[in-house]
Symmetry: C2
């Protein structure tokens, strides 16, 4: 049972029989809706769902059919993050003898209805969602079935209404930029993520603070928003490196973008790190395998997924959980950063096209 579930009567919550009565259907029909069964007409289902939501219905017993499964739902399984997150969920699930069900579903903002239906039939122990905010109906459907859920939100913009796990983006941006400043870089470019994502904003603000605190000017020409993908990193870095006063270092918003920066440097005949220093973000395995291996900000994705799954287990055990957990990031120094090239900081010529 979940928090507060013993107190249904005192809180004036509705019972299954009352929902059935108000909807003008049998108790077994309401039960079918709760279990995601397909043999209920759509209008009836909608009516029952609305009553459940309006009265904040909470299932008070766990079914014997409940399966030892934990679900993880992604919008985009392509993401280089996915495997690390799966590993984290799998680690904790294994310790609880639970299987991990993996689904790629829905849009950037919500899991799809097919998943919801199938999941209700599976009756998992809990659900980890890799989404930022969830639509009210999704939250309500999960709550009315007493299925605990936690959000992993590397985007840094979590639904305040749902327990979530993220990481310290601002500190990551600060650490990356300070590292470059300490190596004598003065013209430092940043290719960050999408403008509308809080994680991009937080990392950029960390960059700005590091620059300002070191007494360095922030040149707006050296701040470009990207899309977290290789091609975006390549395009933005090409733009910066083609300018009359190119940077001597670029801080990328993701390791994928950093790979694009490496390729742009190669296309400009620049050696990394001798001519250009590059810092990535995330520390996924490709960072280690890049040539040269990337200096990057470690985002503890596996730990984040482990924490999220442990939160599910605490929610099931009616233990208190934090609404928001933010794990620390840390700088991993490898081979893509070095001292700024000597000579005029902005005056390197070379093979730039």
């Amino acid at each position: 049972m979940l928090l507060g579930m013993r107190d249904d009567e005192e809180m004036g919550r509705i019972t299954l029989a009352q929902v059935a009565e108000r909807a003008g259907v049998s108790i077994s029909t309401v039960s079918k809706v709760l279990n995601g069964r397909q043999d209920v007409a759509a209008p009836t289902r909608v009516k029952v769902e609305r009553l459940l939501e309006a009265h904040a219905y909470r299932r008070t017993t766990r079914s014997a059919r409940e399966a030892p499964l934990i679900e993880i739902v992604f919008h985009e399984l392509e993401s280089i993050w996915a495997m690390e997150l799966i590993r984290g969920v799998e680690n904790v699930a294994k310790a609880h003898n639970a299987g991990v069900v993996l689904t790629e579903s829905g849009t950037r903002h919500a899991p799809g209805p097919e998943w919801m239906e199938a999941m209700l039939q599976r009756r998992p122990l809990g659900v980890v969602l890799v989404f930022s905010t969830l639509p009210t109906e999704v939250k309500q459907q999960l709550r009315s079935r007493s299925i605990p859920f936690v959000i992993i939100d590397p985007a840094g913009d979590p639904d305040p209404d749902v327990p979530s796990v993220g990481s310290a983006n601002w500190n990551g941006g600060l650490a990356a930029t300070r590292h470059l400043i300490e190596h004598g870089h003065r013209r430092i470019g940043i290719v960050t993520g999408p403008e509308d994502m809080l994680c991009s904003r937080a990392r950029l603000d960390g960059y700005r603070s590091a620059m300002t605190m070191a007494g360095l000017e922030v040149d707006p020409d050296l701040i470009l928003f990207g899309d977290f993908h290789v091609e975006g990193g390549y395009d933005r870095a090409t733009e910066m490196l083609s300018r009359p006063h190119p940077p001597t270092a670029i801080f990328a918003g993701s390791d994928l973008q950093a790979l694009g920066v490496l390729e742009a440097a190669r296309a400009h005949g620049l050696r990394v790190p001798q001519d250009l220093s590059v810092v990535g973000y995330d520390d996924v395995s490709i960072a280690r395998w890049a040539s040269p291996a990337l200096t990057t900000v470690h985002q503890p994705l596996r730990r984040m997924a482990e924490e999220a799954t442990q939160m599910l287990m605490r929610l099931r055990a009616e233990e208190p959980v934090s609404t928001r957990l933010e794990l620390a990031t840390s700088l991993i120094v490898r081979k893509s950063t070095a001292s700024a090239p000597t000579g005029s900081p902005a005056g390197r010529g070379g093979a730039r096209s």
Copy 2:
């Protein structure tokens, strides 16, 4: 029901009641063993399993509790292959409204007993195993419960006793080497996978055939076995590039090894592809993201997993399936290969240390 299961009586197979009688236990105890329940003493369980195996027992009915789940079991989830395989299983599972349960379990040769136990309780529609050969007891346990299973075997050494999906390794080796020969390379090195894996052998033989058919000498100094990892690729390439007569091209046994070759080239001051051409194997996403993007042999991992999952569904429907399906590989030309450097084919000097 599976193939041949209607004929139990005629084939003289044992019934549940007969197993119970011979084991001196109740029918419900035998049923508990079949369902992976924990409330059966270990010696009883072993006795029942042995009888099931000795008499090739096959469950003849599917339980109402059977869940719409497909399981995929990996030895090593770290593998860069894993995500592509998961995607393939997920694609087909989704079309059948089934969830995908993911497990990392066991040794290189067999899934672990914890998985077997939990899986029997989950009662999935079928199981995809990313292993080469399976121990007899694992096959027997799955067969006695009538759970269909298929092996995905990129290693090219499948259990002849189990339906499996692989890909054409020899042809991949041939295509990669021919591509290099067509670009004028004469001294072509190969850093292949472990010596004891058939896929490494098949790719190496493809390389040899391409060389021989082009009238080129195969220099044993330019054949090194590796381990499919970045570090192995780096070490072996460093060894080759440090020789008095280094190759002008290296064919790596995996994309990860190819990344190691790129790094070794960088450390030797060699430009790819101007000074050294590099071909990878697998065509996982990192191949596209490398700098320069890797020319590589596409192994259709996602398609392989889709085929394997479709085979499960055909097995369930009692349709005939091939015992071994081998999908075609194809060469993807990107930026890491170019014409051989001009001048004496083996005489490049340069910044080699």
